[in-house]
Symmetry: C2
Subunit: 329 residues, 2 copies
């Protein structure tokens, strides 16, 4: 195998990445280049910390995923966690174990995609770690955000009788993934938007802040592994169950509606928000927030189970079938 | 290859790790189990953020390194970064891509070692990410610490004429690594302490805080890649050079003193502190801090180069030869 070109040294890499990163940001005392970064948290605020890995062969491939999309998705995962708390993302650190097979062009593309999304969300890269490895590429994105003290939304606040909402359309990202690995012809407009949902997901930070600031949601999380498994997690944390209306779910437009329902229930990586709203506040939830539809898909109930009421009026228990790394081990 | 036993699901893993982690800590609002963690930074303090990867085949092996040592070393790397800023470590997040070859026993041992060290430093595990992969094990440890505002020590504060100090003995960890990969007989007491230095390095957080609180150091960093390369980084950040006295270096006790000097100059992973002290404050630096020797090894100079004055009075320019991931790619 031909050796790919790489940065000459860690010093070269840090000089390269520093040129692409703004070094001034609100609250930042010290960014890239020392043993650690130094930041200030504004008074009256709490700090939100989250970290998410993106692994070649698990979350992306070297040959099908453009490196810009890999960088975008790696940051989007963490942005979505901050969105799910109702917070504002501020600072990122990136640990990247770059495969020898990838080369400098891939590393540059990865950071181009990541930093473009960071700029849109006013996130500053303040540190990280790098290595070159024989194994697959592994990126770990650490994100620090802030939220006014007491305003963060958790998974555990839902009460029986709350209405369950989701943002956007579910199952799009997994449909995009399937198209990416199987398509042979030019994609239709619908396929293009599914590919975009997979390659360049849009975290819902503004929506998360809106729901938190107006105290509309009792519980919130992001849908990263699939509605069926993530709703199970929210219900478990809150000690409730749920009843979902299948015909209310915002499913992908597909000829086969059973397949579309299956994608919406069990497809992961949509990075939409799942949240519960007390019945008394439902009228305050707009039908759209900045173009993104907000859909009521059901109700929380006192009983532990999650039931799906299908179009023909039948009820079945929904089994969590989204992505679980350990279950697939 | 036989499939190793693993956790049944992410839910099982989170339940297991949560039982091993104290859920109450100063400033902690929300720990493991939600989309992100929530913490408070005490008023008048800045937040320190750092992240360090530990990669199978780069930083450790599955067959030679006990999993407890791998976990200990993974956290020690980040603790040492907080020490180098003069801060106090508080919260950790762990991203672990566990190899299918490792199995549950390895993951448990890794966390046992990591959490034992965390307890000693009063660090609370507040989150992370996990995956099971076909490739090598990769752990990324994220550490958040605090430091009184304005007291953090950087690499950039050294001025010509400052005295250069190191803590502990240098080259021990790399000697331990060589013994680990080559030894065939029972280790001598000296070899045992080198093995200990490699497998269970002791980060110098208390020393870092002492130097920062008493404003003794003008610049500080930890020695993670080797004295020759790390001193080069400190000098570059400060815009100075250095003159080192070879016979002052705290080298390992070995029959071959040239080999011992080479280990001390270029061996990595000692996680000792390298710091500069104005000549006027040298008398305030104790010869030992909690059993750890503090040794003056030279002086910073205005000229850019780093010179090594050898025992026979000759001077040679020291080339940075420590570990650089990109240079080895």
């Amino acid at each position: 195998m031909r050796a790919k070109s790489f940065f000459q040294s860690e010093h070269d890499f840090i000089a390269w990445i520093s040129r692409r990163t703004r070094q001034r940001a609100a609250g930042l005392t010290l960014g890239i280049g020392d043993d650690a970064a130094l930041v200030n948290v504004p008074s009256g605020h709490e700090l939100i910390l989250t970290t998410d890995m993106s692994i070649e062969g698990v979350h992306f491939t070297l040959n099908r995923h453009p490196p810009r999309a890999v960088g975008h998705r790696a940051l989007a995962r963490s942005l979505s966690d901050i969105a799910a708390m109702g917070g504002t993302p501020r600072y990122a650190l990136i640990s990247l174990a770059a495969s020898r097979r990838a080369g400098r062009g891939w590393v540059e593309g990865f950071f181009d995609g990541l930093l473009a999304l960071a700029r849109r969300f006013e996130v500053t890269l303040i540190g990280g770690d790098t290595a070159v490895v024989n194994g697959p590429c592994t990126a770990d994105v650490i994100l620090a955000g802030v939220v006014p003290r007491g305003q963060a939304l958790r998974r555990s606040g839902a009460r029986p009788g709350d209405r369950i909402f989701v943002s956007g359309r579910l199952g799009m990202a997994v449909r995009g993934l399937r198209l990416l690995t199987s398509r042979t012809r030019r994609p239709t407009p619908g396929e293009k938007s599914a590919l975009r949902a997979h390659l360049f997901p849009q975290p819902q930070c503004a929506l998360g802040r809106f729901l938190s600031r107006h105290r509309l949601a009792t519980a919130m999380m992001d849908i990263s592994d699939g509605l069926s498994i993530d709703l199970r997690r929210l219900c478990d944390a809150s000690g409730v169950g749920a009843s979902l209306a299948a015909n209310r779910l915002p499913i992908p437009s597909l000829p086969d509606s059973a397949e579309a329902l299956e994608l919406a229930l069990n497809g992961g990586e949509d990075y939409q928000l799942l949240f519960t709203v007390p019945a008394s506040k439902v009228s305050q939830v707009p039908p759209r927030f900045h173009q993104v539809p907000l859909t009521c898909i059901g109700t929380t109930v006192a009983q532990n189970a999650i039931q799906l009421v299908t179009a023909d009026g039948k009820t079945r228990t929904l089994k969590p079938q989204g992505y679980d790394h350990f279950a697939r081990a």
